[in-house]
Amino acid sequence: MLSRALRPYRQSLVQTKGVNQRGAKARFVRSSMLVLLLLVPVTFIGDRLLGAGLEWLLLESNFRYSRLYGGTAQADVVVLGNSRGHAFYEPEMEKLSGRTIFNLSYNALPISVGRALVEDYLDRYTPSVLVVDVSMLTKTEEQITNSFKAYESLSPRLDKLIERSSEETSTASQIFSLYRFNSEVFHRALYYLAKTDDDWILDKQISATMARNSRDLDRVSFRITKDRMRDLRHIIEVAERKGVTVNLVMGPYYPGYLKKISNLDQFLATIETATGYEVEDYSGLIRQDAMFSDYLHLNKDGSSIFLAELYEDEVF
């Protein structure tokens, strides 16, 4: 039965139509079998070797998370946020306070990833202050969680989180080591191979059209979920255990956008109830268009005003 089933394949070994001469046919068959047999081991060995090379590059980078896991991220003040967290412009903060600053913020960073990063940071370093911009609790992007797969071999917490967030991503990363480096986070790490990332801030002004359009924006409602509150509470508990002072802040929004947020007070009150910490609300601090790069983000000038206010209020 098996012999009959395999007959077409055996016959094919001498029926390669594309190759004409008999000797050439046999050579082609032999080389083809060799190619197909070697393909799997060559692919996987190459994948592991290239993966090891890229991991070395990753740890050579000056990108914030490479420094975190590479052991060169000791600072007095550590900051956590999403893209709005880039307003915690490190050179300005260091100039104001004379203290060293380390920013863990990333675009659309979910609080669950933030929790893993803060825990990893506090396992390795001893800061005295942790500042969290709570606007990172407003939404979660699974894609961003998966983007951190480049660091999963260096952090069991991230590894577990990615596995929970997307089983497919986790499995694919296990099969293909190179797939771990298929992410924006890794591309940024490459970008910061030869330069520092502490100048990461938007340096443009909101366009007149965008400013005008803010009048027509739909109402915005922040989603409040138990999971995100639990993650924030956990961050605070871990920091407290390590003797780190925690400050929760809500950074400025563009005035036109701020007006459209329907449940900001409720959102902040929920955080305060869940954590027992007061949230310093700076959402309406800045009113000039020239200080914003869009509805959600301050530019460099706006950041200076914001940071001066934070310093005065002893947030860092």
């Binding site: 080389s31 190179l178 298929n182 924006e184």
Partner: protein, 473 residues
């Protein structure tokens, strides 16, 4: 079921060994049922449509062959064409025609109202309808004998590698291939595997990476500077090329692995020096279909210049409409019709005036001009409406704020530019050297190529935007 998905990988791993183990009629039947299973993975209800269209054209073709009476034959052909176009009109164009009619009536002052229907567009309908129609036309013209075996014909219409988005394979190219048993052939298998991997690379690595940037540019053009939008248009030209030619490559490669030869669908179109050459390199099977079943029956280039221009324009307008039920697609066709007509006028004028440029300069200028004007047409093809298209074009035309440093998404831009450069280099090399022959001649090169493509897909592939653009057509 789409090619770049895990269910398809499982499907093909099960399909191939069973396919080569079976023989004759059992193999054909297995192929047909597997193709129907492949289609019903998307929506089993629309199998009825394929079955209906298949049965109708099979029966009509048999009747056409038997009949000697001219009038009856014409009626039979008309029946097939009307039913096929009727199905297409019903599922693809009904809302478009109703909407356009209402707009026209309202414009003329008649206030008509109508609730548009929620019609699902069956995937692949434009492709298999064209295949089916060309078969009856060929039998009518007595260029092809009607197929006597229903299973063979049904397999031709629904063969899974080309069912959803082509290439549009003619019955004369395919039916005889289905009638003979294909033995497992290592040469074909490896040649097919190489083509599949290249197609996957084009789709997953290039097209899907560019899609992230393009989608943002066309969704909110008001938020982006001109340079970003210009890059968005250039990226779209390569996204649609890699998406569709990637799909075609996978289809051609799969067929080759199974022992079938499909016609080529793309041949480095952005290296074209004229628009007529572009259409000999872009979606070749559709271009040839339109030429043979529309342009030539309309009169082709017989009957003087005016009639040639008219026929060119009509063919391109209908070609545009074939892509989608929207005036933006029709306008895209109009632009290409205009380009083809202008090209003829310019060629005539150049010949009359005796203008000749040095060969290399002429080639570079021609390629740049054809590519730029093709990109202009892509703006209308990609935009959801004319307002978006005109906003994109007017912002690009303003040529203000061209600084690269002010652009968002620089990482995606850098990745996109690098991938496009890689594609162009490989395509340029393959214009001069037959890479696939070299690959098959040197085993080490073959092994390195296979492994490298897999590494590239793992490292640069985008797995979030996996739908093929041409499925919607």
């Amino acid at each position: 079921m789409i090619f770049n998905s895990v269910p398809f990988l499982v499907f093909i791993l099960v399909f191939v060994p069973i396919y080569f183990t079976l023989k004759g009629r059992y193999r054909l039947l297995f192929c047909l049922l597997s193709s129907y299973f492949f289609y019903s993975w998307w929506d089993y209800r629309f199998l009825v449509l394929i079955l209906f269209s298949t049965t109708l054209d099979f029966t009509v073709a048999r009747a056409l062959e038997r009949s000697q009476e001219g009038g009856r034959r014409k009626k039979l052909l008309l029946l097939s064409i009307l039913v096929n176009l009727g199905i297409l009109a019903c599922f693809k164009y009904f809302n478009f025609f109703m909407d356009s009619t209402l707009e026209l009536l309202n414009y003329l002052g008649f206030h008509a109202n109508y609730q548009l229907l929620q019609i699902i567009l069956p995937v692949g309908i434009s492709f298999y309808t064209f295949q089916s129609m060309s078969y009856t036309v060929d039998v009518y013209r007595r260029r092809l004998a009607a197929e006597k075996d229903f299973v063979t014909y049904a397999t031709y219409i629904s063969f899974f590698p080309q069912l959803l988005a082509g290439p549009i394979v003619r019955a004369s190219d395919m039916l005889h291939q289905l009638r003979t048993d294909k033995r497992f052939d290592l040469y074909n298998f490896q040649a097919g595997l190489s083509i599949v991997l290249v197609g996957l690379f084009k789709k997953v690595v290039i097209a899907d990476s560019l899609a992230v940037f393009v989608d943002a540019a066309f969704a909110y053009p008001e938020n982006y500077p001109p340079l970003y939008l210009l890059l968005g248009v250039i990226f779209y030209s390569f996204q649609i090329y890699c998406d569709f030619s990637g799909y075609s490559d996978i289809a051609i490669g799969l067929a080759r692995m199974l022992g079938f030869k499909f016609p080529l669908n793309f041949r480095m179109p952005y290296f074209s020096k004229s628009f007529s050459e572009f259409w000999e390199r872009w979606h070749i099977t559709l271009s040839r279909w339109l030429r043979d079943y529309l342009y030539i029956p309309l009169g082709g280039n017989r009957g003087g210049q005016f009639k040639t221009y008219r026929n060119l324009m009509l063919t391109m307008l209908l070609g545009g409409l074939w892509h989608g039920a929207s005036w933006t697609f029709v306008f895209w066709g109009f632009l290409h019709g205009t380009y083809l007509i202008l090209q003829r006028v310019v060629e005539w004028a150049r010949a009359a005036l005796g203008i000749r440029l040095p060969r290399l300069l002429n080639a570079v200028l021609s390629i740049a001009l054809v590519y730029s004007l093709t990109c202009l047409a892509w703006v209308f093809f990609r935009s959801p409406d004319f307002a978006t298209a005109s906003l994109v074009l007017s912002k690009i035309a303003s040529i203000s704020d061209l600084s690269f440093s002010a652009l968002p998404n620089k990482f995606i831009i850098a990745k996109g530019v690098a991938l496009i450069a890689l594609l162009l280099v490989v395509e340029y090399i393959s214009l001069r050297v037959n890479l696939s022959k070299i690959m098959l001649r040197y085993p080490a090169f073959r092994l390195a190529a296979y492994a490298s493509i897999i590494w590239f897909i793992a490292l640069f592939g985008s797995f979030t935007n996996s739908q093929f653009i041409y499925f919607q057509f």
